[in-house]
């Protein structure tokens, strides 16, 4: 057939093929390891497809995987030099050594500092580090989520703004007893969830000199309350005690109407809407108070770029695309997440949520305003995870009756010191 074509046409076709091949070979491949709390990965995929249409020389592959895989496998892959170009991570301290500073590749690094300044520190190695390593895919805030139907059935009012954790625990227990619900309350099995109430009780976590001792009077007050609530049936012991190991959320218990109050956070909004819908009336409460503050914990996940990428320019280009206000705002609306972008936080995003979802989003936004600077600092600390893990492990042991609370405090201090020493060894 080629022989029948005129010579000029054949040569042109061949040249096109060759050039096309070269263009294809030069296309930058970006692999993103992603996990979803709700629909973050599919939403990112939609935006990535749009980005690829405008940038045909860049190909983005989004690999969706479980949260635990990201937590356990990605750092190992990165250490072995075989990691993704970008990953959605919530524990930045684990990937700090492998992060790529995007600053030289960004069109306008000053915009990033201005728009995402408060959370850029979370991805940095320390105060002297000024790099830009990634983009937060959301800002989260922890808060109590309430089964209002159960409260109404019990005739107990939902604790109002300014109510203490004691008020919340007492109300939850009253509701549970009145409605024959197994338990009043549950918190996700997470040291971060514990930290908000502890800070409200006066826990300082950090001290001026050296490593944080973690345990102080405020921390002890909250720990003692938490153990007591677990043991007297106020709290669903199953969540913290029945399972060893790491994180476990209590969403299923809440969704199945087995608890009246659930301490989780804004990242559950998509699930709350999808899984519960109008199965029962659910609302988000104000951040419970203690003598020191009325704070939850900020947090979130971010897309972090890695040094091992062969396409740093393209990686930065994609993240820069996502970071622009219009795209970022659309992304937040698609995923029902609070924006980490300072400007967008001031605007009212049109989330297209159900009435319950809209009310919940407003409450999460309101609770974000009462987050203390200490809560932000703790979230960004390189030692936050060891502190959180030690809290969960040791307080669980105390609840199970394996050790006393005093022994738990000593162990928490020792565990954090041990983790700090291990991290410091070079």
């Amino acid at each position: 057939m080629l022989a029948q074509m005129p010579l000029r046409t054949s040569v042109s076709a061949l040249a096109l093929l060759v050039l096309g091949g070269i263009a294809f070979a030069q296309a930058a491949d970006i692999r993103i390891a992603c996990y979803s709390d709700g629909n973050e990965c599919p939403a990112t995929k939609t935006l990535a497809e749009r980005f690829m249409k405008d940038n045909p020389d860049i190909h983005i592959q989004i690999d969706e995987m479980p949260y635990k895989s990201i937590l356990e496998s990605v750092p190992v892959q990165l250490a072995a030099g075989n990691g993704p170009d970008i990953a959605r991570v919530s524990d930045f301290s684990q990937v700090v050594p492998y992060q790529l500073d995007l600053t030289p590749y960004l069109k306008d690094a000053a915009y990033w500092e201005k728009a995402y300044g408060p959370v850029l520190d979370w991805m940095r190695a320390g105060p002297e580090d000024k790099g830009i390593y990634g983009l937060m895919t959301q800002l989260t805030v922890s808060a109590p989520i309430v089964n209002k139907t159960l409260f109404d059935q019990a005739g107990v009012p939902v604790p109002a703004k300014g109510a203490t954790w004691d008020d919340w625990a007492a109300a939850a227990l009253k509701v549970a007893k009145a409605t024959k619900t197994p338990f009043g309350m549950a918190w996700d099995r997470s040291g971060a969830r514990f930290a908000g109430p502890a800070i409200s009780e006066g826990a300082k976590y950090f001290y001026a000199a050296g490593h944080p001792p973690v345990v102080d009077d405020g921390y002890k007050t909250m720990a003692a309350k938490w153990v007591k609530w677990n043991q007297d049936g106020t709290v669903d012991k199953d969540v913290w005690v029945a399972t060893g190991g790491g994180y476990r959320d209590a969403f299923e218990e809440f969704a199945n109407g087995k608890i009246a109050v659930y301490l989780s956070g804004s990242w559950q909004l998509a699930r709350l809407q999808k899984q519960i819908g109008d199965g029962f009336e659910w609302v988000v409460g104000s951040a419970p108070c203690g003598p020191a503050a009325c704070t939850g914990m900020p947090g979130g996940a971010g897309f972090v770029a890695f040094k091992g990428t062969k396409s740093p320019k393209e990686v930065a280009k994609f993240l820069d695309y996502l970071a622009q206000p219009a795209v970022y705002g659309e992304w937040m609306v698609m995923t029902s997440n609070l924006p980490a972008n300072v400007e967008l936080q001031k605007q009212k995003l049109d989330y297209k949520l159900s009435p319950a979802g809209s009310a919940a989003m407003s409450m999460f936004q309101e609770n974000a305003t009462t987050l203390t600077p200490l809560a932000y600092k703790l979230q960004g600390s390189q030692l936050s995870r060891p502190m959180f893990n030690a809290t969960v492990d040791r307080i669980s042991q105390a609840i199970a009756g394996q050790i006393t609370l005093d022994q738990a405090y000593d162990r928490i201090t020792a565990d954090v010191a041990d983790a700090a020493a291990a991290k410091a060894k070079k």
Partner: protein, 340 residues
């Protein structure tokens, strides 16, 4: 129109194939002859075991060497070149205890909880499993109705993945599980089977026995069937009571199989991980945290990954396994000599 003879065609093709096959099969002849001449004194064997040794070396021996190296290093970096050498620090840290019987007096209390949990688990699980397997094998060796069905039923759990086993039992034992549903239906209060340290521990032993008993029953059953029937006939003629027959004939002749069950059961029990990890995650507290889970948590699950500590713990575990195996092997050899 010519009609070809299919038989002739087939035999022709077969001949061609046969020649090809022969040629391919003869290919190694020359190099083998050369090797035979070049490698005298029976060293040719190395050529045959070489590939296997290479695979063993890369996938078994090398990881052991790496494990030894990691046990002497510290920090949280993964690559060996990035890890500082700390010598025996990890072993010293693991073994630093005021009172070895009280994990709370140890620097690495979780390690010692794991040690004592594992020791208790091994003693209970292996002894109970041996007894139950033996009883089951004795029953299944008799001519009972539905013997084939029961043999299959007892072996069935062995075919299941440990994760499936754990998920099934979690479904049964959790607070809203099948067992509590039965309790509630029977007018009883539900029980927190997996929330109480002792009961959670007991259930891990039970589930492990349930999952593995079939395999050991099968070994004992094979041992029972290998005992010559004429010995039992002679005992019957002497009107020996059944328990004496069991004690004097069955048990001594079954001892080699019992020892195999003991060795395998012991090694497997010390290595317990998957079922318990899915069933309880090591909780409540660290009541069901066994040694392999401690190693896994320390090296791979904890956010500050202490590979050196995990490697040191794994070497201590390997040492224990080695000692147990040698004791068992010595026992087996002793028994063999007696019979011989």
């Amino acid at each position: 129109m010519t009609v070809s003879n299919p038989n002739i065609a087939t035999s022709g093709a077969a001949r061609v194939f046969g020649r090809l096959y022969g040629a391919v099969m003869n290919l190694p002849e020359r190099p083998m002859r050369w090797a035979q001449a070049a490698l005298p004194d029976g060293r040719l064997g190395w050529l045959f075991v070489g590939p296997n040794l290479l695979i063993f070396g890369i996938f078994t021996f090398l990881p052991i060497v790496i494990d030894f190296y990691y046990s002497g290093t510290g920090g949280t970096n993964l690559l060996p070149t990035d890890r500082p050498w700390v010598g025996p620090e990890n072993f010293a840290s693991l073994l630093d205890c005021k009172n070895y019987l009280d994990p709370n007096s140890c620097v690495r209390d979780q390690f010692w909880y794991a040690i004592w949990n594992t020791a208790e688990f091994v003693v209970l699980q292996v002894s109970l499993m041996l007894v139950f397997s033996l009883i089951t094998a004795l029953v299944l060796n008799r001519k009972i109705i539905g013997r084939g069905f029961f043999r299959a039923a007892f072996f069935y759990p062995v075919l299941l993945s440990p994760v499936v086993v754990a998920l099934i039992w979690k479904w049964v034992l959790q607070r809203d599980g099948v067992l509590n549903a039965a309790f509630i239906a029977g007018g009883l209060d539900p029980v927190d089977w997996l929330l109480n340290a002792r009961s959670a521990f007991g259930w891990t032993v039970f589930v492990s026995i349930w999952a593995h008993m079939g395999f050991y029953t099968l070994i004992l059953l094979a041992g029972l069937q290998a005992i010559p029937a004429d010995i039992y006939e002679a005992a019957a003629m002497d009107a020996a009571p059944p328990f004496r027959v069991f004690r004097r004939i069955t048990l001594p002749l079954l001892m080699p199989s019992v020892l195999v069950v003991l060795v395998l059961g012991l090694i497997r029990a010390v290595q317990i991980f998957d079922e318990v990890y899915v069933l309880t995650g090591g909780g409540p507290g660290s009541a069901t945290t066994y040694l392999v889970e401690f190693i896994y948590n320390t090296g791979f699950s904890s956010q500050v990954r202490q590979y050196g500590l995990a490697a040191a713990a794994s070497l201590l575990l390997a040492g224990v396994l080695l000692v147990l195996t040698l004791i068992q092997l010595r026992g087996m050899r002793g028994k063999g000599d007696t019979r011989g």
